[in-house]
């Protein structure tokens, strides 16, 4: 009888700790959303990934549709090659979509936002998203702003110099 109650207590201890692990996994680290859903791979090249990390989100209209699987330097083109894993059920992304690196909030994490295009053909496993937009780098922004300000102050053509869409280097190839 004594061992029975001991065994009961130890069993309860184990159950509680397994429950704690589940709590940490599902509720705290959000593992369920991270579990690998069946997905296909798409590539995108960027001049500057500026703080994008592996496992960052890939979103469309704010909805998560995949994750960044790998980031490496393309040695031929000398820019960053980002591998995106997009869930299989999101299979109608047209080939002229734009994949830009965005920031959540002012100083938040980087993620990739895909804006769908109008083309009838869809990207498949192993394709490349041609139209990309690099990360917004604060130093570039400030540099461009100062440059514009300086040209404005010279008074050459005040009206024509609108504030340039800074760091908007469309990486077309």
């Amino acid at each position: 009888m004594r061992t029975r109650s001991l065994e009961l207590a130890v069993g309860a201890f184990l159950v509680i700790s397994v429950a704690a692990l589940f709590f940490l996994a599902i509720k705290v680290s959000g593992l369920s959303s991270e579990l690998s859903q069946p997905s296909y791979k798409v590539y995108a090249h960027y001049q500057n990934i500026g703080g994008l990390t592996v496992r960052s989100k890939v979103t469309m209209s704010g909805v998560t549709i995949g994750r960044v699987a790998a980031i490496e330097l393309d040695k031929k083109r000398l820019n960053a090659k980002v591998t995106l894993e997009i869930y299989n059920d999101v299979n109608e992304i047209s080939t002229d979509s734009v994949a830009s690196i965005l920031t959540a909030g002012l100083l938040g994490e980087k993620y990739i936002g895909i804006v769908p295009g109008a083309d009838d053909t869809f990207i498949k496993n192993g394709d490349e998203i041609e139209q990309t937009q690099s990360s917004l780098v604060l130093e570039d922004l400030i540099g461009k702003f100062l440059f514009n300000k300086a040209t404005e102050d010279k008074g050459s053509n005040n009206a024509a110099t609108t504030p340039a869409p800074a760091a908007n280097s469309q990486d077309d190839f």
């Binding site: 061992t3 001991l6 065994e7 207590a9 130890v10 309860a12 201890f13 184990l14 509680i16 700790s17 429950a19 704690a20 692990l21 709590f23 940490l24 996994a25 509720k27 705290v28 680290s29 959000g30 593992l31 959303s33 991270e34 496992r55 994490e109």
Partner: protein
């Protein structure tokens, strides 16, 4: 001068010898072939006294540390207008650091000291020697089940500690101070990674469990078999155990989160 040098050498040699003896002791306890049926019952008994009996102190201190983290974190974060990040802060602090470390410190105080005193008293009353006389290996019968019990319970206790602490932080942040529950949990889930944070915390607690249990068992087994010797050994268990946990924590953190 020469005498001081000799003493330094002697104390170094004695320490090294103690470390070596502790290593051999652990090795012998681990390779002791278990007789499955009897050792399972012994293990259950030790899991009860090491793990289950430590639950109350772990639950209560985890809850209160979570409550305090919630309050302190809220007061700091609200000055930057980012009190939604409270969940992230509480969860990362607990899962990465406080869960394993505080659990190990409490474990050294609650279970480690009890192990040392128990084994020390067994040695003082010559129970270990008489076991050897009747042909029972005390390493197998006494030490091995206690070691495995500590090895198993410590990570479980640390996980319970973290989970209860996060619930405590939620009680303060969401229910008392009125942070929106959705952003509390969503921010936490966005920034806590299961493998990088939770699993690394569990690895830490496994290492601490081995260290603390090993120190406790060896201090008990190695103590001078008098009442004074047992008290010295019990103190040493808590002091050495805590220091070892804090030192190892720095090394493990540097390896896991230091970026190399």
């Amino acid at each position: 001068m020469l005498e001081a040098l000799r003493q330094l050498g002697a104390s170094t040699l004695a320490r090294l010898q103690a470390i070596g003896a502790a290593g051999i002791f652990l090795w012998q306890a681990l390779i002791a072939v278990p007789q499955f049926k009897t050792s399972f019952i012994l293990l259950i008994k030790q899991l009860h006294s090491v793990g289950v009996m430590s639950l109350p102190i772990i639950l209560v201190s985890g809850l209160f540390i979570g409550l305090v983290l919630g309050l302190q974190g809220y007061n700091i974060l609200v000055t930057y207008g980012s009190e939604q990040a409270l969940g992230t802060m509480v969860a990362l602090t607990l899962v990465r650091e406080l869960g394993p470390v505080v659990t190990a410190l409490l474990f050294a105080g609650r279970a480690g000291s009890a192990l040392t005193a128990e084994i020390g008293l067994m040695k003082a009353t010559e129970q270990l020697a008489s076991m050897e006389m009747i042909g029972v290996d005390p390493l197998r019968r006494i030490i091995a089940p206690r070691f495995w019990a500590g090895f198993i319970s410590m990570p479980l206790l640390a996980m319970i500690f973290s989970a209860v602490g996060i619930i405590g932080g939620m009680l303060v942040g969401v229910d008392w101070l009125g942070i929106y529950a959705g952003s509390f949990w969503a921010n936490m889930q966005n920034s806590v990674e299961f493998y990088d944070d939770v699993i690394n915390g569990v690895i830490k607690s496994v290492v601490f469990g081995i260290t603390v249990t090993w120190i406790a068992l060896f201090q008990g087994y190695d103590c001078v078999p008098t009442s004074e010797g047992i008290s010295v050994a019990t103190t040493r268990t808590v002091v050495y155990g805590s220091l070892a946990v804090l030192g190892l924590d720095f090394i493990l953190t540097a390896v896991m989160f230091g970026g190399f």
